[in-house]
């Protein structure tokens, strides 16, 4: 098994990040594996982790009575999963289900938040990496909301 | 039409009558200006007596009035609500009829013989308008067969304008007032207290042939000079002016100009301008069937970019605002047309100005949006 910092360094999320910071955040990280159909988190649950996906596919889903779960985004190799842990009340707003065998690095949220609060430079470097995927997903949600293929 | 070098001649007013008769005996329906419903329109005339002799028109933005002249000029007015396009490019035209028996479909062509038209009193701006529509309907590979027939069969008697109207600006568009090409004959009305004659220029073999039967004399240097002066005077008295220098680029570069909103507040999107415009060519196709669904027809009718359904694609109209429709019309006419057909789509006839119910003036709007002095695009 590879060293965690090495795994982190290989992930696009840490591109351009100082080794010092990688080593620092590695202290909050652990290597995790999800089997197909495992739930990584459920809507309403406490957002205590976030994940960097190394290999695999995770479907973000919503459920409605009488309908099967509806996936609105798939998260894949190199992506970041979950952002509700960033801000109170630290609660997941959808389900995340592994579609296939998925390997990821999990971060303990409280640990990471504490380190970001203690050193705002670390916090800012992390934030610069969280914001782009959030903006991208917001834009995707807008396109989906506009139902562009119906026209 | 090839140019037949033949010296200009002068004919008496009365000889014009003979000319009309000769055309009629040659099988032409002679179409000319005539007074109807307080406007000078184009329709079939039986004789010169149908021309609006002694009448003129007074035109301003949103205003057209006919009035008596102090003299007995036969062509002492400018252009009215009609243009020759209603004959060459009819407002409604059946393209074909088909009938269906089982899974077999057969077409029947309309067998009505083609009309041969002689157009009397075609202004220089209108000659240019016809040439512009030729570019649209006689495109290589997609020639409009019916249009080609009507054009080939038409005989054109042009008229050099002795007066400019209040909304005329052909001098700006370099489309007049002198008829310089594409006519069979061109008339200049020479009218003073002691004479009423026409200078006749001959532009084609057909024109020359027709003149054989008409009493005429060779034009003198004095006749030519008089005609030249008249035209110079007309050119100098245009009611409107449009600066075309750089106009195309500036219109194409300013789709967000504030002026589009301002003009849209006045525009009723009524499509009058496109109907009176001698170059506007847009049409719609209507397919119809009888109740049993056994016979079907295809009709083509004039359409307008000011109509909502003009730009309809499943889901809605692309141009739903009046602003976008006016912008489409003006930008097409004065700018995109150049890219599409090699010339402006405007001949400076002024019809769209006179017949706009709210008096929107194309020269004013073009100047506001497209002149060098126009404000830059809103920086916000």
């Amino acid at each position: 098994m590879k060293d965690l910092t090495e795994l982190l360094r290989q992930h696009p999320f840490t591109a351009g990040l100082d080794d010092e910071i990688i080593n620092l955040i590695a202290g909050c990280a652990s290597n995790v594996v999800f089997q197909a159909n495992d739930y990584i988190f459920r809507e309403g649950g406490n957002a205590e982790h976030f994940h960097l996906i190394r290999h695999g596919t995770v479907a973000l889903e919503m459920k409605a009575p009488g309908r099967e779960a509806l996936s609105f985004l798939t998260i894949k190799d190199g992506d970041m999963l979950g952002s509700n842990w960033l801000v109170p009340p630290y609660r997941w707003s959808f389900d995340a289900r592994a579609v296939e065998l998925t390997r990821a690095v999990a971060f303990e949220a409280t640990c990471l938040r504490t380190k970001c609060d203690a050193d705002h430079h670390v916090g800012y470097e992390m934030m610069k990496r969280f914001v782009p995927p959030l903006l991208e997903r917001l834009q995707i949600a807008r396109f989906q909301g506009a139902d562009i293929y119906s026209a | 039409m090839e140019t037949v070098p033949k010296a200009p001649v002068v004919i008496a007013e009365k000889a014009l009558h003979t000319l009309v008769c000769e055309l009629q005996s040659a099988g032409y329906r002679v179409i000319g200006p005539t007074l109807r419903d307080q406007a000078i329109i184009y329709d079939e005339i039986d004789s010169v007596a149908d021309l609006p002799q002694g009448w003129t028109d007074e035109q301003q933005p949103g205003s057209y009035r006919v009035a008596k002249r102090p003299d007995m000029a036969l062509f002492g007015y400018t252009v009215g609500p009609h243009s020759w396009k209603k004959f060459l490019h009819p407002p409604r035209l059946r393209l074909w009829q088909a009938s269906r028996t089982g899974n077999e479909v057969s077409f029947s062509h309309d067998e009505t013989p083609s009309q041969k038209y002689a157009f009397l009193g075609v202004r220089s701006c209108e000659l240019h308008a016809i040439a512009i529509q030729d570019q649209v309907f006689l495109q290589a590979g997609h020639e409009d067969v019916g249009y080609r027939q009507r054009r080939d069969d038409s005989f054109i008697i042009a008229l050099n304008c002795s007066e400019a109207g209040g909304t005329c600006f052909c001098a700006s568009m370099k489309t007049g007032p002198q008829a310089t090409n594409s006519f069979d004959l061109a008339l200049t009305e020479l009218l003073s207290e002691d004479r009423h004659e026409f200078l006749v220029e001959i532009g084609s073999q057909a024109g020359a042939d027709l003149m054989h039967g008409i009493a005429s004399r060779e034009a003198s240097a004095g006749d030519l000079e008089t005609a030249e002066k008249l035209l110079a005077q007309t050119a100098a008295n245009m009611g409107r002016h449009l600066d075309t220098q750089g106009l195309k680029e500036r219109l194409q570069e300013n789709p967000e100009h504030r002026r589009w909103d301002e003009v849209a507040a006045r525009c009723l999107s009524c499509s009058n301008c496109t109907l009176v415009c001698p170059t506007c060519f847009c049409t719609s196709v209507e397919d119809t069937a009888d109740l049993a669904g056994d016979t079907a027809e295809r009709w083509r009718r004039w359409d307008s970019c000011f109509n909502g359904e003009f730009s309809y694609i499943h889901g809605g109209s692309v141009r739903s605002s009046t602003k976008s429709r006016y912008r489409q019309w003006l930008t097409h006419k004065l700018a995109h047309w150049v890219d599409q057909f090699g010339s402006s789509g405007c001949v400076g006839c002024g019809r769209c100005i006179s017949w706009c119910p709210t008096g929107i003036d194309i020269t004013e709007e073009a100047a506001a949006i497209g002149s060098a002095a126009s404000p830059p695009e809103d920086a916000s």
Binding site: A59, E68, A69, L70, S71, F72, L73, T74, K76, G78, V99, E100, Q139, F143, Q144, A146, D147, I148, Y149, S150 | L95, W96, A98, N103, V105, S106, F107, V136, Q139, H142, D144, V145, Q252, E256, F281, C282, T283, S284, V285, D287, A289, D290, G293, A296, R300, D303, C305, F310, S311, I313, H314, G315, V318, R319, S320, S321, K323, S324, Q328, H336
Partner: protein, 278 residues
Amino acid sequence: MNTPLDPMMPRFLPLQRRIRETADVLSLVAEPLEGEEMPTFLPGQFNMLYAFGVGEVPISISGDPQERGHLVHTIRDVGAVSHALLQLKRNEPLGIRGPFGKPWPLDQARGADILLIAGGIGLAPLRPVIYHLLAQRESYGRIALLYGARNPADLLYHKELERWRRVPDFQVRVTVDHAGREWLGDVGVVTRLLPKIRLDPADTVVMLCGPEIMIRFSTLALLDMGMSTKQLYVSMERNMKCAIGSCGHCQFGPHFICKDGPVFRYDRVEALLKQDEI
């Protein structure tokens, strides 16, 4: 009877087969009249399809350009005419005028990598390109198809997509906006698929067909990859009545979509696509 010289007069071909693609999309397969050959077409061209007595609509040809035995159009049931066309039964006459318009730049693209980006019904005008690329595979570099749709049920050409996925050297990625559990593919927008495909951005020709919103955001992502607007081609859609550049309906700035398009190099329409109500 069926040799009209008038460009406004349709010819009639018997309908041979109807293929249901999705809940509201069918492909109509017409066959040539006995003893006659099907007119040739280039990928990207369209025909005006006429439903007897009802009307006419522009529809891209979605079949194989090499296949002379039949003519295929894929039609979505969105209006009175398309609805009437989709009611046609076997052997009933389908009115056709065409083909019209400028094709996809397949000749100019020889030797280059090819990326096709399709959205919704926009896969139909690109399918002839796919047939062409697969038939002349050696003439092109790497080839890829990214296809986005609303949901798995709205995907066109299911079986062919499966077949294309198995073609070596053909990168096929499909994504949908929403999906249920049965869908094992991607959910998201087509641009999310771009990082997954291999091609040389400096030597790639991209052909895009789909909703204008998709075209705009896809081109931005392609430009971010280092491509130029001159490498991108889009197929445009507007109201059309004559298809020969004389009715005025399909104008898009200085262009007539029917004869200057429907396929345009992106730099020629980029500014217009950014304006409202052009």
